[in-house]
Subunit: 212 residues, 2 copies
Amino acid sequence: MSEGLRERKKRQTRQYISDVATHLFIERGFDAVTIAEIAEASDVSVNTVYNYFSTKEDLFLDRSQGVVERLSRFVRARDPGESAADAVLRELRAATETVSPALGLHAGYDRFMKVVQESHSLRSRLWFIQQDLLVHLEKTLREETGAGESDSLPTLVAGQLAWAHGTLVAFIGRLMLAGRTPEETSREALALLDDIEEVLGTKVLKYAVRQG
Amino acid sequence: MSEGLRERKKRQTRQYISDVATHLFIERGFDAVTIAEIAEASDVSVNTVYNYFSTKEDLFLDRSQGVVERLSRFVRARDPGESAADAVLRELRAATETVSPALGLHAGYDRFMKVVQESHSLRSRLWFIQQDLLVHLEKTLREETGAGESDSLPTLVAGQLAWAHGTLVAFIGRLMLAGRTPEETSREALALLDDIEEVLGTKVLKYAVRQG
DNA sequence: CTTAAATTTTGCAACGACTTAAAAAATGCA
DNA sequence: TGCATTTTTTAAGTCGTTGCAAAATTTAAG
């Protein structure tokens, strides 16, 4: 029952194609590499590439998909007495302090960012992911607070928290792209998080407090 | 010096192609219409279409480009004693109250929104326009306040104001798409603007006050 | 081991957005 | 009218993406 040869080979093929593609993209830029080249370099047909990845962007952003539920997870796991914003800020600070790769705080992220920055379609794709994060978070806030359909606060608070997250990630990306080390960037990002918290309104900071 | 026949004809041709395209898009959807069809319906070659519009999206979103400087204009024109946020909120309220078509408050916007909503590439394009608005606004805030390079407040305040604007526009779009009248939507949007103002922090609301 | 069924891979043709270069037509002016 | 400039068209090609049927491979059954 564990796993047949077929499954294993599929996972390997998929991983291999993704690795080859990532390598090529980082070396020559997203738009400069064609799917045909990736297929050839992977010793596979173009159709096989499409068999595993539905778009060219997926070949590069496959792992970024996990971000969609990030803030929702933080909110769902908030402590008693803690608001949604508290939990999100606490978790973001923790990830920043520990120089977590999940936020882009790792050597090599500059090369990733360079590829993204130069490609229109990759940035567009990352935006759709952020949109998904926002929609997901709004739904979570509605569930957690039981807010009515016509209540616009969950929309607004979700918007604010997603903005805070997006601003942090963009900031980190900019610094890493500029050649800073992860540690240096971490330090500056913590200062930014303080600024962000100071900018947020009380209504946001006190929203969805978990009863103790 | 005024304008030769050549210029006039060019403007006419451009306008005609845009009108034909818009008509087709609204009738059948953005992705279902090909550039070749637009060219044929306009009695022009495909390359002439590309002569006037550099991408397919431009054929539909030509007029939306003016939005980029909107918030910057509001901020630059703020009254003495008024902050950047005050000015933006005042102008947005004014436009909403007067049922301004600039915000989408006009009959027919529902059809526009329907086309946009169904097309991945159009939404992506609108996002890039919002990004431009944000960048533009941040630059304006830096100029107006003389904030230093390392000061992140202009970035954050610009982000908040662009968020408020984007949230309002999205809200209006959603209601119009749902079949509400412009007047009804205007009323609900005013309530949303109140909610937005209540959600914003003092730091944002008091930023860049013009000296009286 | 052989065979048949299921699945994966492949080659091929096609569509549509977009680019480029050069020929052809329209226009403005002397 | 003749000429220079601008606009339009034609033609050919690139690339992402899709659909389809044949071929190769893996799995399961006898």
